[in-house]
């Protein structure tokens, strides 16, 4: 179930999208393009890492963007919730940004700098935050004559590995879940490490009809100390998901972290 704030976030996103596209036709509004969409950095305690995020203004008019950091959480449904206030244990005090407001000319590109400096006594772990890039607030007319203030916002997730931090992913359960409306095998993955991890790898299997299938694990991040359901999406050809006749036996090698592998040989039945 989505929480009330998530519903509002989604509604806000839809409204912002509709507003952004219609506003683009009127040559105004939020039309920022950001590259890259996320950073995965590493740094030693006491050292500094500086990076650049490119913020492009796709509209023909000059635009002002407001940049700040935020903490974030990842919900069970993989939805990201950004927090303006400082979360407990936040590493944002280690972060410095270039400036709070920038002006990007129409069609222009801004190379925006930020840096992370963990203290010399920082223990191995992972600093996670988001760079939030917002446009100016705009009033959108809604049915009934209401004027709703809406601002477009882009969140760029930043992961910074401190010292020797690394993920430690373990399969703690299996089952059948759902992905894109299809019942799919899922793995319960626990991260016992102190940095986030993602599953990749090549898995294959044979379902009840004898069809040979390939399985692709979702690349959702698994944060330290959390257990996350990772769907295995079946396909007969690249990028063409297919239904599965259960039971299905899935085998192969799961990859994660730097050179870490886990063998999988599991029968999934409904």
């Amino acid at each position: 179930m989505l929480s009330a704030i998530q519903y509002r976030l989604i509604a806000g996103a839809i409204a912002a999208c509709a507003w952004a596209f219609s506003a683009h036709a009127q040559a105004q509004g939020f039309a920022a393009v950001v590259s890259p969409p996320r950073f995965e950095l590493s740094v030693k305690p006491g050292s500094r890492v500086r990076e650049v995020v490119e913020i492009s203004n796709a509209s023909p008019q000059s635009a002002t963007y407001h940049v700040r950091t935020g903490d974030w959480t990842l919900g069970a449904d993989a939805g990201v919730t950004f927090l303006d206030r400082l979360a407990a244990g936040s590493c944002r005090p280690w972060v410095a940004i270039e400036r709070r407001d920038i002006v990007v000319p129409g069609g222009g590109r801004y190379r925006y700098r930020f840096e992370v400096t963990p203290p010399a006594d920082a223990s191995a772990g992972e600093c996670r935050f988001a760079l939030l890039i917002e446009g100016d607030e705009q009033m959108v007319k809604a049915p009934g004559g209401l004027n709703i203030p809406v601002s477009g916002r882009i969140g760029v997730i930043v992961y910074v590995t401190i010292g020797s931090a690394a993920p430690d992913l373990q399969i703690v359960g299996t089952g059948i879940g759902e992905a894109n409306g299809r019942p799919v095998p899922v793995l319960q993955i626990r991260n016992a490490g102190n940095a986030h991890g993602r599953l990749t790898g090549f898995l294959s299997g044979v379902d009840a009809t004898g069809r040979t299938l390939e399985f692709t694990p979702s690349t959702l991040p698994i944060l330290p100390d959390e257990t996350r359901q990772i769907p295995l999406v079946a396909s007969t050809a690249p990028d063409t998901p297919t239904d599965i006749s259960y039971p299905v036996r899935v085998r192969g090698t799961l990859e994660w972290g730097a050179g870490k592998r886990t063998e999988l040989d599991q029968v999934f039945a409904r």
Binding site: A13, L41, V52, R100, G107, P238
Partner: protein, 651 residues
């Protein structure tokens, strides 16, 4: 410490997936701690690193429009002969909502070359002119390549040429099912080194074409081209004489989501009375994981398309199969080609490639090509791709042999991750060549990259150097350097340097004997080029979308009068008054209000059928709209549809 990039290294993301209304933002709670204030680098005094777009102008008013101009000067030294060329390229675009997009191109070139001389090129084009009945038109005046039907253009193995022409052309398309095209003019050639211009070959060319789609699967097309008294060459080749020819293309195609087939026929008659014929068939289909392609062809000697050569004097067949999973990529094929007449023998060509992704960061692969017939040759290669802390690397070994030589080459490639806005790839090459009893070892390096130098100054480089030692010493250099400087909004200065020096043998490459006539860039063996260009580009305007229509689809308008039909005859008669201040709704979405005379207008409405509804709230009693107050209206492109709507007295 590199930013995460996707596999394709393309990390652009247009996100509007998250937007917060003020209400949502306040859901952090009134009792939440105050928002955190970020620390600033150097107290926020870092100089902004911002670059303007490559275009000047930022006026969003009016129709989309653009203008560009480039002034250039270059010098080419080819085999010790130097040629100077200066040129001016002008271009403009105006995208109108109701007459399509107009573009204009004008090139002027001055040169001291005997081969190229000086020249000009001028083209005025109109694209996507909307018309009624779902028709769109494309028109060109000046220099263009003759239009062609989709079936003639979309070829799998053979390329159907078009003819550079100075004249007029038109092409009409209707809803994807019908295409018509025609052109007439004087054929010619594109000449020039840096600035293309048009050189006439004299004579006349006329073309025409028709394509009709019978169903979602089936289509058929015919295209004709006729040339009269067209020179076979210019400059030193002008003495080759002239040609006159008639050519006919006919084709039919069938296609579904997973399969396709196309039968093509060409007939050409040259003025000397010879009549030549070509027929070829291409088909393909997908099973669950394998895509099969196959075809056969018979192309008699001296086939031409107008004054353009076609693949000729060959017959044969081919087959290809591609198998792909996330882990495996395997493809292979066979080509058989034989001459229709004259000397020469049949050639068989076989090709196979395989790649296996052992881990996400480790893949291995290889392949082989074998040519048997007039020439016997084969080649093979193997490689390993590996992700490493600095990027992605590849180690590859190639071997090729024919009756003249054996060559082996080891290549170590590395694509580096230097950071946003920068790319860098390097190669190290080691080779060995045996040819005619002599041998040589070679070493080489290559680099390809783009380096922002700050501001809007960018250096791009693609350079390769190899040197051979032993019995067959040689040195090959290929360098292409470009320095681009965007010194003001819309302005760009470019300095390009190109050098190609080859003193050794061209490496043996084993390829299919089936000719394609696809335009191929021919690398000159000894070239040195310096090219300086000053460019300005400007754009402005905003695309407009008509009500209930699509951008570029054209529009008409709806105008009318809502009147008090005093005599109830459904006609607006003299003396009958308009109903003022009444809301008229178009398609349930767009509204207008009648003026004091009852007039209303929707000035830009997409073509097709629409519904106008009268909201009777403001009608003076005892007047009311007849029926449900809805009127169906047909709108035509660039037409005004008049709709007079009566309101009647309640009786």
């Amino acid at each position: 410490m590199s930013p995460c990039v996707t596999a394709s290294h393309l990390c652009l993301l247009l996100v509007c997936a998250l937007a917060l209304t003020r209400a949502a933002a306040q859901d952090n709670g009134p009792d939440a701690a105050p928002d955190y204030q970020d620390r600033l680098i150097d107290d926020g005094k870092l100089a902004p690193d911002v670059s303007q777009d490559m275009y000047g102008g930022n006026n969003p008013e009016g129709w989309p429009r653009a203008f560009r101009a480039q002034l250039s000067a270059g010098r080419v030294t080819r085999n010790d002969a130097a040629t100077n060329e200066t040129g001016l390229v002008l271009g403009g675009m105006l995208d109108t909502p109701n007459y399509g997009a107009f573009t204009i191109d004008a090139n002027f070139r001055a040169s001291n070359s005997d081969a190229y001389g000086s020249g000009t090129l001028f083209t005025l084009s109109q694209r996507a002119l909307p018309m009624n009945g779902g028709w769109f038109g494309n028109n060109a005046l000046g220099v263009f390549n003759t239009p062609s039907t989709d079936l003639a253009r979309q070829q799998y193995r053979f390329y159907m040429p078009t003819i550079p022409t100075l004249g007029a052309a038109t092409e009409w398309r209707r809803n994807g099912d019908l295409q018509l095209n025609a052109s007439v003019g004087e054929p010619g050639l594109y000449t020039g080194i840096f600035v293309p211009t048009f050189e006439s070959l004299g004579g006349r060319v006329a073309t025409g074409g028709l394509q009709y789609r019978f169903s979602n699967e089936w289509a058929a097309a015919a295209q004709v081209a006729a040339v009269n008294d067209v020179a076979l060459g210019t400059g030193p080749s002008a003495s080759l004489g002239t040609t006159s020819a008639r050519s006919l293309y006919a084709g039919t195609g069938w296609g579904t989501a997973n399969a396709r087939a196309q039968l093509n026929f060409v007939d050409s008659a040259i003025e000397d009375g010879s009549n030549q014929t070509g027929v070829w068939f291409d088909a393909g289909g997908r099973t669950e994981r394998v895509y099969h392609s196959f075809g056969a062809f018979y192309l008699s000697p001296n086939l031409v398309w107008g004054n353009q050569p076609l693949p000729s004097n060959i017959e044969g067949a081919y087959y290809r199969a591609d198998f792909q999973t996330r882990r495996w990529m395997i493809d292979g094929g066979l080509d058989y080609v034989a001459p229709v007449s004259g000397p020469g023998s049949a050639t068989l060509y076989a090709v196979g490639n395989v790649r296996y992704q052992y881990l996400t960061g480790l893949g291995i692969g290889g392949g082989a090509n074998v040519l048997e017939g007039a020439t016997n040759a084969w080649s093979a290669f193997g490689y390993v791709d590996y992700a490493n802390p600095w990027g992605i690397g590849r180690a590859q070994i190639n071997y090729a042999t024919d009756s003249q030589q054996d060559s082996t080459q080891l290549t170590i490639d590395q694509s580096w991750n230097p950071g946003a806005g920068t790319n860098l790839s390097t190669s190290l090459l080691l080779g060995h060549l045996d040819s005619g009893g002599a041998s040589a070892n070679s070493v080489g390096v290559a680099v390809f990259g783009t380096l922002p130098l700050g501001g809007r100054l960018t250096l791009s480089a693609n350079a390769r150097w190899t040197k051979a030692f032993g019995d067959l010493p040689s040195e090959n250099v290929l360098a292409n350097l470009a320095l681009n400087w965007g010194f003001a909004p819309g302005w760009m200065a470019s300095l390009n340097y190109y050098e190609s020096r080859n003193t050794g043998q061209i490496p043996l490459v084993v390829t299919s004997p089936i000719p394609t006539l696809t335009p191929v860039f021919v690398q000159q063996l000894n070239d040195r080029t310096v090219f300086l260009a000053l460019r300005y580009e400007w754009r402005g305007g905003t695309p407009s979308v008509p009500l209930s229509g699509a951008a570029g689809g054209g529009f008409g308008s709806i105008a009318g009068v809502l009147y008090l039909d005093a005599n109830d005859n459904s006609r607006l008669d003299a003396g009958e008054q308009g109903a003022a201040n009444v809301t008229i709704v178009l398609d349930g979405r767009f509204s207008a209000r009648t003026d004091a005379q009852g007039r209303f207008e929707f000035p830009a409405v997409g073509p097709g059928e629409h519904v106008i509804a009268v909201v009777p709230d403001n009608l003076p009693l005892p007047w009311s709209v007849a029926g449900d107050g809805r009127v169906n209206v047909q709108v035509r492109v660039r037409d005004q549809t008049q709709v007079d709507i009566p309101v009647r007295q309640l009786r």
